[in-house]
Amino acid sequence: MTDINTYLREWTMPHVLCPGCAHGIVLRSFLEAVDQLQLDPDKLAMVAGIGCSSRLIGHVDFCTLHGTHGRAPAFATGLKLARPELNVVVLTGDGDALAIGGNHMIHAARRNIDITVLMLSNAIYGMTGGQSAPTTPEGAVASTTPAGNTEPMFDSCKLLIGAGASFVARVFAANPLEMTKVMADGITHPGFSFIEVISDCPEYFGRYNNIGGGANMLSWMTVQDEGVAGPLSAKRFVNHVPITVLSPALATGVLEREVRPVFSGIREG
């Protein structure tokens, strides 16, 4: 196994994220998946839009493309059509992918182009000051919903299955081994792979909703896991969680996997 840090642009470290932000855990799990698959760093292109999650691509030593807000799937589509030999991975956030770029996301899924989308969902707009996002659970406090969010939240996996993505999965940042496995599956899947990673924002979501810092946020997310909770529910880790906000239980694991013709821009036959 390679030292994971060799995949980082070490001179950019430490990264820009807040203390306890689970996005770093997700990035590590992704790099472990890249390492397991022995992908060539020069043949791996990461495309991102705008947001905390999108900032991560600045720290990895692959080919990286920082696009405009919400348009990462569009940049990725162009890149994959022009350079089909590349592994194209889109790193995006919940606001970037579902609100600002919702249109681009569903149409990339509809075409079933062979890219992998990692959507890091922290249920809030972290970079811009904690506004409520399409994934903010009902009742949760955000800077734009000081008395609690009144809107229902998106189930992004159902949305993407409906849009036609051929690989859809949901994982929790608190389960790094499962994350790595599902990401490796998603990268190798031929066609559009969408992986929602439930990440966290201790700085805004955790603070506004009295959940606490990074460690508490991780155990908070495990109680939303519909499947078997991860290692964090063991021992003292879970005892510190005041459960004030709870989204509906989320199904985890690979939720959709089918092999369909992959979009290449060329009409066959």
Binding site: N5, W11, P19, I25, R28, G214, L218
Partner: protein
């Protein structure tokens, strides 16, 4: 209790098909014209715990439980379970056992001392009470036939020698109870078990690979933001964030190298070195480019 009632015991580990085997035995006995009662215990079976089934048969059976020291035969699917349940067999009875060894999960609960090793083996347990033994390497036979999960039927094949049931009844019961599509391999396993050669009493096990000394925790302080995740997740309480928000190793002797802290560190700040491996000097030097 009828004078003609006999009992047998099946014992193994969760996942080996002990209960399925006990249904097959019970059904074969019914087909042979006996009154049969069967009972089972399967507590934490799916976690690798002990599973056993009691079967009693005769012209009339009132209770399914086999009293201590009265079973005709013990069929064990795992070596430690064979030792554990031997007291249920009557003097001069028989023991059929798979020599496979499965280390119980309890032995893994203390990762440092491994204070629960695999039980010792004493052939005297059998000889002193005049027990007939038939040991088979059922798992190896079943693996050779293509499916290790058919090992339970290999044991039943060996068990058949001690019970007066026509082969026709055995095979009908197997066909009825095994999962659809696996009839062939299970019947083959049963037949192989009837003819299996006697296996040797297994030698005492090699010590499990355990704690070989504390791992070294290497913290990269210029990347660590003191978020407290690693110190809260560490099962051995090795790490703590001090009052200044600096992560420190508080219990270096206890690190078992589970790497939970490494996997859950958002800042790539922790590396774990195994005891033998010389710690590499971390590269803290700025590698060109402007630092952030």
């Amino acid at each position: 209790m009828s004078e003609t009632t006999s009992g047998l015991l099946l014992a193994g580990v969760g996942g080996q098909g002990v209960l399925l085997a006990s249904m097959i035995v019970a059904d074969a006995l019914v087909r042979a014209g006996h009154d049969v009662k069967q009972s089972e215990v399967h507590g934490m079976a799916q976690r690798g715990g002990s599973v056993f089934g009691h079967i009693r048969w005769g012209s009339r059976v009132d209770s399914p439980l086999v009293p201590l020291g009265s079973a005709e035969v013990l069929a064990a699917f795992e070596w430690a379970e064979a030792i554990r349940w031997v007291p249920y067999v009557r003097d001069g009875g028989a023991v059929v056992a798979d020599i496979r060894m499965i280390v119980p999960p309890g032995a893994c609960s203390d990762r440092r001392s491994w204070s629960m090793p695999y039980p010792g083996i004493d052939a005297e347990v059998f000889a002193s009470r005049g027990l007939k033994t038939r040991l088979v390497d059922a798992s190896a036979i079943a693996t050779e036939l293509g499916n290790v999960r058919a090992a339970n039927n290999v044991v039943l094949g060996s068990l058949a020698a001690f019970l007066d049931i026509d082969v026709v009844h055995w095979e009908a019961a197997i066909e009825q109870f095994v999962p659809r599509g696996t009839e062939e391999v299970n019947l083959a396993a049963f037949r192989a078990g009837r003819e299996a050669s006697e296996a040797q009493i297994p030698l005492p096990t090699v010590e499990p690979e355990g704690f070989s000394g504390p791992h070294e925790i290497d913290i990269r302080h210029d990347w660590c933001k003191g978020c407290d995740i690693c110190s809260r997740i560490c099962p051995e309480y090795c790490l703590a964030v001090n009052g200044d928000g600096v992560l420190t190793v508080t219990n270096a002797e206890a690190c078992t190298g589970c790497r939970l802290c490494v996997l859950l560190c958002p800042d790539f700040a922790i590396t774990i070195h195994p005891p033998q491996e010389p710690a590499t000097v971390p590269v803290h030097a700025v590698q060109g480019g402007a630092s952030r």
